[in-house]
Symmetry: C2
Subunit: 225 residues, 2 copies
């Protein structure tokens, strides 16, 4: 069985867990707090990022892109499309929106929320800086408008089929939902989309996550939120 | 012939041009200044990132990951390995180091240098902020130590074969070399590696690049630098 070094609220770790669950691959989880920069973790990954997959067949994959490609290479179904469509235009749109989530949403929202609410507490017992959280909230509102606009015209984030881009966004929004940073009352089409993706069997594992001394926001695990 | 919307000093655009040249694909270049956020550019890419590939066979690919995957899907040789090895462990190491360059080196060095030296001048005629450039320089020195350490033990960045990771790093370092931000005297093994990759035919197109009112740093186009 592969082992995944992860953190329960790290969106890239969540993406890897969603992919593995969707492809029916059982995985052993080992929790890491990357911001503590512990020596044996830095030896495996000097960039101090997660996730890291250790697989009997594939070897060791370090970081988001290495892990998601290894999961896709080893475990995607061969008879039907997995999470990466084979059609060139659909693939391109999937990568565009994966990058939107993984780079832009992360840079403008998720990394600040997790740094302020989790890493700062773990490393120096500090409380979040309100001005940073306010900026992240304003940025998130802009992103939600864009996702609403996309999802008003298509079934899934990158088109008519569910892809890696949907899982990437679901991973980020579920972390931000855990910390109570999503106003579902204003989430429009994104709320309907999230409700559909949250009901998938692959999602169940994430809904049982708990971070010590930080219970999830009300509604986090409810399918009817 | 495919068209690439690019900027001569944008590292992701350079990576796309290197890949296309390596695979022998002629391309029409159209220069964009993404920081000007012009309406017709934002309509194609609301994230305002480059490159964008418009291809007869593949359609439109927007952003770094979409473009590099489309180039690989459409143009990589099928009889031999292209820039992405087929061996699982080699692929994982390639993605790890691609991500190192594309996320970490970019976040800590390249984006600051290009913002300060190019975007600020173009958008508001402003001069670079010395403290930002100093921080980027300090960060770059740390990265160079890591690359030197890797390249002391292996032929190419991610192992014994040249991969996408080498092209990604070469794209970033060549932008930083254009702006005069690399101290080759201290570059050790990375200098030898850069000298090898700079001599490849695929690299020639980059060495003729010129940005208006900003000539390249001395030695930029020399194979013996």
């Amino acid at each position: 069985m592969p082992t995944l070094l992860h953190h329960p609220l790290d969106p890239s770790s969540r993406l890897a867990r969603l992919m593995l669950a969707e492809y029916g691959v059982p995985v052993e989880l080992e929790e890491i707090k990357p911001w503590l920069r512990e020596a044996d973790f830095l030896e495996i990954n000097p960039a101090a990022t997660l996730p890291i997959l250790v697989d009997e067949k594939g070897g060791q994959a370090v970081g988001c892109l290495a892990v998601l490609h290894m999961i896709e290479d080893l475990y995607a179904p061969t008879s039907i499309d997995g999470l990466m469509p084979t059609d060139a235009a659909q693939r391109a749109e999937m990568w565009r929106l994966f990058e939107w989530v993984n780079a832009k949403l992360n840079d403008e929202v998720t990394r600040y929320v997790l740094e302020e609410k989790i890493a700062k507490r773990d490393t120096r017992g500090a409380t979040p800086e309100p001005s940073v959280l306010r900026a992240a909230k304003t940025n998130l509102a802009e992103h939600m408008l864009y996702f609403n606009w996309l999802l008003a015209t298509r079934e899934w984030l990158s088109g008519e089929v569910m892809t890696l881009a949907d899982f990437a966004l679901a991973a980020h929004l579920s972390s931000l939902d855990y910390t109570g940073d999503i106003d579902w009352g204003k989430a429009g089409e994104t709320r309907d989309w999230y409700s559909r993706i949250k009901s998938r069997p692959a999602f169940r594992t994430l809904l049982n996550d708990r971070v010590v001394a930080m219970p999830p926001h009300k509604g986090y695990a409810d399918l009817d939120f």
